[in-house]
Symmetry: C3
Subunit: 341 residues, 3 copies
């Protein structure tokens, strides 16, 4: 059960109510009136707690779980231990997410307040129902939409605009940016600083003024300590519903489409374009001025030096279609083993 010091449950809910919330179906014999109070992992869940099976690595934990209820794909029903109330779902992880959201709703910003220890320029516009914490700096001309939350010690630059329900974590900085509704920046995020732009010159590199913006569309998540430089002239753009993890670097002029997933420590160099639904594994790096096609999947640590077609999976340094990379890995192993003998 989540530690009540950090998480307050909104329940209990009946199992049938949760099935409804989750787009799931009560299995034969499951009691729709069963009372669910909390979520928990398979190996620690107990009575009145609900768990889920999504990753087959944890199948044994499922077979021996003491959870009162469990969300599972119907194919795995035969592996269930006696007595557990099952919810069937085609997408158990998504169903779990929806149930966890219901049981542990995010605290809203109902208790709106603007700290007297925030430094807010006179002409700043602040919407209804915002929380602005101590130490926050909001510079001249900024517009803060309704129901925003701006964490302590963050700095919002001149004329920056935040949409409705935007959350800015503590110690973050935002400048030269327009941020869409319900987007969320985690602590320590840096948005809008100068890109890495200079003309190389033996007598001292010449700085190129960075004259673009950062456009973050709606429902975007940006992980802790991630850095997103503003455009050099064109804008840097993060598309709607894209999720970016911690410590990611996004260079100037990069355009990221909708629904992309970018895992921690990825680096995307200047002017590269990601079409919609691209997924990039941790620590992968993309050179500048590339185009990555819709739905491409790039494995962790891959080094991308050319345009990539969409709909395929890539890996390697330099990047190859993953089957081709794996073939090379296997071949090299075989040759080395043969040499050995």
């Amino acid at each position: 059960m989540p530690d009540p010091r950090f998480f307050q449950a909104a329940g209990p809910f009946s199992l049938s109510r949760l099935a409804e919330i989750a787009g799931a179906v009560l299995a034969d014999g499951a009691d729709g009136d069963y009372r669910v109070e909390a979520v928990a992992a398979l190996d620690v869940a107990g009575v009145h707690e609900i768990s889920f099976l999504d990753n087959m690595r944890y199948k044994d934990q499922f077979s021996s779980t003491k959870a009162g209820a469990c969300i599972v794909h119907p194919d795995f029903a035969p592996e269930a231990p006696e007595g557990v109330h099952l919810l069937f779902s085609q997408y158990p992880y998504k169903s779990y997410a929806l149930i966890a959201q219901a049981l542990y709703p995010e605290r809203g910003v109902a208790e709106a307040f603007v700290s007297e220890q925030a430094y807010i320029a006179e002409d700043v516009q602040i919407g209804q129902g915002c929380v602005i914490e101590p130490g926050v700096v909001i510079r001249s001309g900024a517009k803060i939409g309704a129901s925003c939350w701006i964490g302590a010690q963050s700095v919002i630059g001149e004329n920056v605009e935040l949409g409705e329900g935007v959350r800015i974590g503590e110690n973050a900085t935002v400048s030269h940016a327009l941020i869409g509704d319900y987007s969320r920046l985690y602590p320590g995020v840096r948005v809008g600083q100068d890109g890495f732009g200079f003309a190389i010159d033996p007598s001292g590199h010449v700085k190129v003024p960075q004259l673009g913006r950062v456009i973050i569309e709606s429902h975007v998540e940006i992980g802790a300590n991630t850095t997103i430089d503003r455009g050099a002239g064109p804008d840097t753009v993060i598309g709607q519903g894209t999720w970016i993890d911690n410590l990611v670097q996004i260079g100037h002029n990069v355009k990221i489409g909708r629904g992309c997933v970018i895992v921690a420590q990825v680096g995307i160099s200047g002017s590269t374009v990601l079409e919609d639904f691209v997924a990039i594994g941790g620590q992968a790096g993309l050179a500048g001025h590339l185009r990555i096609g819709q739905g491409a999947r790039i494995a962790a640590q891959t080094g991308v030096m050319r345009d990539l077609q969409g709909g395929q999976e890539y890996m390697g340094y330099p990047a190859l279609p993953i089957r081709q990379f794996m073939k090379q890995v296997a071949l090299l192993k075989r040759l080395a083993d043969k040499k050995e003998r």
Copy 2:
């Protein structure tokens, strides 16, 4: 045209004035009195805006640009569309940089002020014309040169010295450091904390006191959320005019020469020495105690485990001269393709 909410143009300028600023030459038929108000990218520039062609990927955009004026190498004059006023330059990107600097000058710190909400020890020396924002902490004995800008919530440690015109971004921390004139730290930079120094011991690693400093010479740029540890005994040194991008890690005792370029997410391990004008691509990693020769270029994601001679280009894991690496990549591909058939 840059968004006037974020960038105020200082112009207009005549084209002949800009040619002078840029070290460029008016092409035959270009009107020296043509009025230039703004810069813009080739594909969006319009009348009274100036653009440039430097990267051949964008040649088609050049041929169809609607820009009023354009900076280009004379060799590409034949590709220019009708009616655009051309400036010829051997270094179009550098010329563009100089023009953009003229049109969009950085705001100075003319309106010097020291926030009453900054926490400044009594014996701190602060030069003429500084801006010190709210929440800044400056500890005892620090010396701040003239015309410095210290962004909100930053912390300047005991006895730290900043030269003239130094800019420290918001939420940055600096300790045990001397920083030269006109150097610039972006938001979230960490300079001067303990290096990763300990003696391994089964009963608990033994911390090695880190007793060196960080010396940052003049005209250095250090990108957002980059970390530079202080020396363990010797100093960590960043040479004059070196540019460091975001999320870079510089270990203790590292010496970086003049005019180096270090792209985002590079890691340089303790005690490694870079001679002057070394360039390192994103996410490359250098082991400790190495020497990298003058003008060496290290490709993105390269893993450097040995000293490298200057004047050459390297790539691979472990690093090889780039031609050798590319030959291995091609060979492995051929072998795998043959196996396939």
Copy 3:
């Protein structure tokens, strides 16, 4: 000699006193009454300064050092220059660490104070002898042990607990976490924010509430700008005496054992388990849901995609036992050279 602006020596000490502190032995002819005032590197040390030889790269500096005293393994005594007072140690680096700690003790928090410019909720418990700097935010229900140091502009979340002697660097954020005695977070560290958890869905990724905590045991070090996400349900755990360098990413549910060493820019994906005494070189990446055996050593930039047995060294992308990787590297080089000829 360390710059007295930044480091104050507590000495002088006699050489025999230092031998005792260091677990070292006076060499024949060394003067136990010799007065040692400072530490210094071999190439710059002078009279009344002590140095050490640990890394054979610096043997020539040892042979020509002007240091008054030097710590060295007895095997290297013959290489010593005339007149230097030698201390013999089986572990010269550890001995140096202990001597440097004695000569340059960390300043305690004797001058305890809580800044009036800190924002501390009414029900926060603060132990004896703490320093809480300006701009610090401590939210409701937090418990701060005795002798803690919380640097300027840091934010301690609701109900967070810090043990005794914990140090939190400036501009750091901690939430949903319990931190053990004498652990230390450097500036800009992010602990306890949401992990990267969502169910992929074409109509918009569905956020999975992150309902676990971060448990940091005692004597842990966490480097600048490192990010540690809280668990998704289970906790994220960092074991006792583990050292983590700068810019490291630790995903949700990761369990790290005791005495591990994790170098800068490493990324560890969700739910991976490190047993005790694992060492990971810079920029290495570990996929999720893996188990890494006790004492495994993973070289810099390695990409780990499978469980690894303990007690061995690994390198490569994907990871291989290091001998096997090096054999492949050598083989590929030979094949390419042959092709060349």
